[in-house]
Symmetry: C2
Subunit: 211 residues, 2 copies
């Protein structure tokens, strides 16, 4: 046999460059880093690339932005192309290796506009980041957006901490919910592409699709 495909490429949308043009290389305040994430998340669903989710990797000590990510599932046709996977993968390209916690590197953090889905929970765990900053972690994301985030353990945060990954929760939480609410309103009015297999597909046993 011969393979139809021997690989795939995940690329950030072109508009990211415009959105970052006026942003300084360093955002020393974590709140400013989250504000940028919210801006990218809000534009992402409006552009039609994927769900209302964004992330970035920064050097914790300096606030230097190493990478950003948005959900590109629709744009790429690859279901693993979530915001966290994009931010972590492009950060690893930038530093030249798979371990963002490797010897000689500054401490890295992942900033995301909500607690990750179960896939990206694992992706974060294996990336080498030392800190994860989220805007929130409650069920609101599923209630508002209808995305399935998958079966997480109740001790998800302690499991991170036990692996040396510090969790910061609640940075610009209301602003995150505002993005999700705007997305949902657009979905309900059919102005946004419904990116949620469980709701949109006629296939009865297809799963929902998360950030």
């Amino acid at each position: 046999m011969r393979l139809d495909s021997a690989g795939f490429t995940l690329t950030l949308p072109d508009w990211i460059g415009d959105e970052l043009a006026g942003v300084p290389d360093r955002l020393p305040d974590p709140v400013d880093r989250m504000r940028l994430v919210h801006r990218l998340a809000d534009r992402n669903w409006r552009e039609g690339d994927g769900g209302p989710f964004a992330a970035l990797v920064a050097e914790t000590a300096t606030g230097r932005i190493v990478s950003v990510g948005v959900n590109v599932v629709l744009a790429s046709g690859i279901s693993s192309g979530h915001a966290e996977v994009m931010a972590l993968g492009t950060a690893q390209k930038a530093v030249g290796g798979w371990d963002l916690g490797g010897v000689g590197l500054p401490d890295h953090e992942l900033v995301v506009n909500w607690r990750p889905c179960v896939q990206c929970y694992g992706a974060t765990m294996w990336s080498g980041v030392r800190t994860m900053i989220v805007a929130g972690s409650g069920p609101e994301i599923e209630t508002i957006t209808t995305f399935d985030e998958g079966p997480m353990r109740d001790d998800w945060s302690a499991q991170f901490e036990s692996r040396g990954i510090h969790v910061v929760d609640g940075v610009l939480r209301d602003e995150a919910l505002a993005v999700f609410t705007a997305y949902r309103a657009a979905v309900d009015s059919a102005a946004a592409l419904v990116y949620n297999a469980r709701a949109a597909s006629s296939a009865p046993n297809n799963s929902g699709d998360p950030e």
Copy 2:
């Protein structure tokens, strides 16, 4: 600011083509599909591309092989480049969209040489496959290989089933353990690159790195 990297590419190793050259397009018996996965997993660590893990996506009804994947974390420098992510992503490229369970497509299955780590558990859940076939699911994988598979819920299998993904466990289980044992023996004798951040890195709070 400007990004250092605007994307990344995950590519299967060149030797995959040789390994598949004599394999028929269809393997109607699931045991034969798993046998191929074990063969790829065993060669993968020997080639130095990543851990001893492989996967494939097949059409369940016919056994047609749609894609294969191996762990390419070392080869790619991208920590999400696990076998399941590779097999699912290249299958999605082959069918032309992110939902392998989409309307009009035949039912797809993912075949893996052990229960996935927490990242790939989620990646499988959002991929649209209807069946997951694993060689085994117990703690042996962590005991033998020392890879951390991450915090999974005890009801991981029921969570799949509740989303319409059928789980088949125990296909060529002993053969899976033989691959892991050979890998571990090579690691212990320093013949294989130790791909496990927890064990290999001097950074005290770096996580382990799974399949």
